[in-house]
């Protein structure tokens, strides 16, 4: 291949390549949008309601980080013993 052929080939590849990438991803945008609108229109998914029972939630929230910390510490301690 001569050097000018090589350059032509490169330009051609770039145009075709970027073109194909864009064509493909634009097609994907369309298809994805269609899927999403079909789904939301015809098969609406009942989204999980925001957690009710704020009282219980608050209570659990106040417990959890502590418990998580304790578990974490326990695991760390356990590992430390093992090594």
């Amino acid at each position: 291949m001569t050097s000018s052929e090589m350059l032509t080939e490169g330009v051609e590849l770039m145009v075709l390549g970027m073109g194909s990438v864009f064509a493909f991803l634009i097609a994907l945008v369309f298809v994805t949008n269609i899927m999403s609108s079909v789904l939301t229109r015809f098969f609406p998914e009942v989204l999980p309601a925001p957690k009710p029972a704020p009282k219980r939630a608050a209570a659990s929230a106040s417990i959890e980080p502590e418990v998580i910390a304790v578990i974490g510490a326990a695991i760390k301690q356990h590992r430390a013993r093992r090594n």
Partner: protein, 378 residues
Amino acid sequence: MDKLFELWQTTGIYQIELGQLIMILICLVMIYLAIRKGFEPLLLIPIGFGGILANMPVAGMAESGGLLYMFYEVGLLTTVFPLLIFMGVGAMTDFGPMLANPRTLLLGAAAQFGIFGTLLGALALTAWGIPGFEFTMKEAASIAIIGGADGPTSIYVTSQLAPHLLGPIAVAAYAYMALVPMLQPPIMRALTTEKERAITMTQLRVVSKTEKIIFPILLLLLVAMLLPSAAPLVGMLCFGNLMRECGVVERLADTARNALINIVTIALGLAVGSKLNSEAFLQLTTLGILVLGAVAFCAGTAAGVLMAKLMNLLSKQQINPLIGSAGVSAVPMAARVSNKLGLEANSQNFLLMHAMGPNVAGVIGSAVAAGILLNFVG
């Protein structure tokens, strides 16, 4: 005494060549950077260690019958390893942010300019006869794919088009992925105004479980119809992602993204390391590869940012151009860079989730670009 002399002759000190010594030093630097600077350690430690093992004289671990050679033959040349890695990546990836805003796929498309621009550049430099740049079409394509900022994609393409360049290309791909936090910000700042960087984006809508399940199948079918040469890579990505999202094969998804991908990563790293021999690496072309790789990353980053600005011109729903750079993939580093620069401009501007859209789109984009290159050049 004969035996003692024989023993001396089999020592590494007696047998080692300068090239091997240099390669071992390079591998040590790689391991140092991986451990101390956090440069993609999951890959660069196995690659670097594999490189040391491959460059030890006498042991022959990278020669026929050696462990690294077997990993290379069985897993790399057959493309089994990169495809299994892609499956694991699929099982890790949440396409939700992209599905909430599919337009970000265009950013992932634009960033592939890094690949094709570099390909043109490599061919031009070869045509002009610049020393260090003497590449065939197949070599140029393998190098250009570094701009995809996706390790397994680079390895997949190179193992099919130019396996003799696997060492330098894989190292360059992972090294630049690690350098994303340094390479990208100057370009991003240069191409955007302070005001653009401060643009806040509306919170992403909630994506339903069903959308997430259907997306990988849709993507696979589209690839099958339009670009089947990208199908192995994209197909395994989609398979992993379907296992992740469908909710009924959690144990398979869990294995795909843990035990299996870890095993394959170890073997893949060692296999790539086996190609870090001095004959392939200590060449002027390696410098060329490194230069082109850096150009590819920068071009991709710039193209992503400029595409975002173009989209802002054409649509009234404004996006922050900082998320454009995440289109090169390098998940999740590039998205974090976008987030960081966004916060610098506006301390209430959390771009992370918005940047995850183009970020995973970039994975799809470079797999698609890989398919195109394999189609035309392979």
